[in-house]
Assembly symmetry: C2
Homo-oligomer: 212 residues x 2
DNA sequence: ACAGAAAGTGAGTAATTACTCAGATTGTAG
DNA sequence: CTACAATCTGAGTAATTACTCACTTTCTGT
């Protein structure tokens, strides 16, 4: 369908407030359309329509469909890192026990995906992302693992060796279970709050449990 | 792109061995093509080409693209349930400790996705599945949880209440972490065998840990 | 007021692709 | 061998869709 191969850089940077609002509208519309239709079926025409602008305007600010997905993903990475930093800062005050800290972490992650549970999945798995973005994702995930590891260091009841790998597994576990539960919840078998509680229980048991 | 809306039933059931082989070829080709291109970009023409038959032959046995994905998914559900039954039977001999049993479960699940790590994700998330198939998936997942719960009942060291919900969380955890690790392994931070070991450790700690 | 820049429009284009069909080829029963 | 069914072929069709461009409208500085 693509006539030419477009770049990934924004074409014309918005300078007036009107155009900045348009770009915001476009991103919001894209999030909604991708969430409900998937990447391939989320057409650029539909995105423009939902945003309330013409298709030409869309291509004035984004050189191609991929670029929109990349922008959404990069925005999500930034937001997630912000939330994680906030959580780490709160944990660093030392007023919380391990369990409350883990509870906070899982809650933050669930909130992050509460609004559009499928979107991150779609961006990650269905979108042809350039290698650069994959690198960014990997780096961001490693930073998250490092942050979590650092927080865990504050709790002497954790006696497990290789805390960095432990932090990595915690991040992976929370991330993947949160995604899964947000996207396909089985409220019949396990309601959301119970799921959260059990997950925190599992993580706590893992961290303070016998080293072997 | 679709002119008419096709059904999901196979058009002409293969009766000669030649055509049965053709259908197998088509499914194998579809698995390969979807795995490497995703659902939307995995074209029917390409599937037919990889299978070594003409596009017309493909449509003689499958009424539409979706039907191929559904067939692949149903096949995967059957295979997974078989593997799970085998594992439960082995666990029922009573010769394994809890840890070995969990290790076996995780190993089985990792093996299931080792060959085509992305395929299940693609079928589940990118394919427009009819409601019937989603029901089947949910049912299959619940059966898996029931099987695991039953196995866990054999181990008196597990004192946790609501074993059915515990079994459900174990299934969800293993399923989602296995998918994630098969699809995007970060061998640099955590090699596969170490990942398996830590996951088993986490599950064990969760199951035998303090009830509160 | 006005020139030029920024922003927006949407019908149209070229490429892609799911699917069809008229007929050729291969297997099989009597 | 013959008739018929099963199987296979692949060029062609209609629908879809990413993207362009010639043009209009709105804003801003002077």
């Amino acid at each position: 369908m693509a006539k030419h191969k477009p770049q990934l850089e924004r074409r014309r940077p918005p300078v007036q407030s009107r155009s900045r609002a348009t770009v915001d509208e476009l991103l919001a519309a894209a999030a909604q359309v991708f969430e409900s239709h998937g990447y391939a079926a989320g057409t650029t025409n539909r995105i423009a329509q939902v945003a309330g602008v013409s298709i030409g305007t869309l291509y004035q600010y984004f050189p191609g469909k991929d670029a929109i997905a990349v922008a959404l993903l990069e925005r999500h990475i930034v937001e997630t890192e912000e939330r994680l930093r906030d959580w780490a800062a709160r944990a660093a005050t030392g007023r919380w026990g391990l369990r409350a800290t883990l509870n906070g972490y899982v809650t933050v992650m669930m909130e992050t995906h509460a609004g559009r549970p499928r979107l991150q999945h779609i961006l990650l798995e269905e979108t042809p992302l350039p290698a650069r973005v994959h690198q960014d994702l990997l780096k961001s995930e490693r930073r998250a693992a490092a942050t979590v590891t650092e927080v865990l260091h504050r709790y002497p009841e954790i006696r497990r060796p290789h805390l960095d790998q432990v932090g990595f597994l915690v991040v992976q576990t929370v991330e993947s279970l949160t995604h899964r539960f947000a996207a396909h919840p089985d409220e019949q078998v396990m309601p959301c709050d119970r799921f959260l509680g059990e997950l925190v229980l599992m993580l706590t048991a893992y961290l303070v449990g016998p080293a072997r």
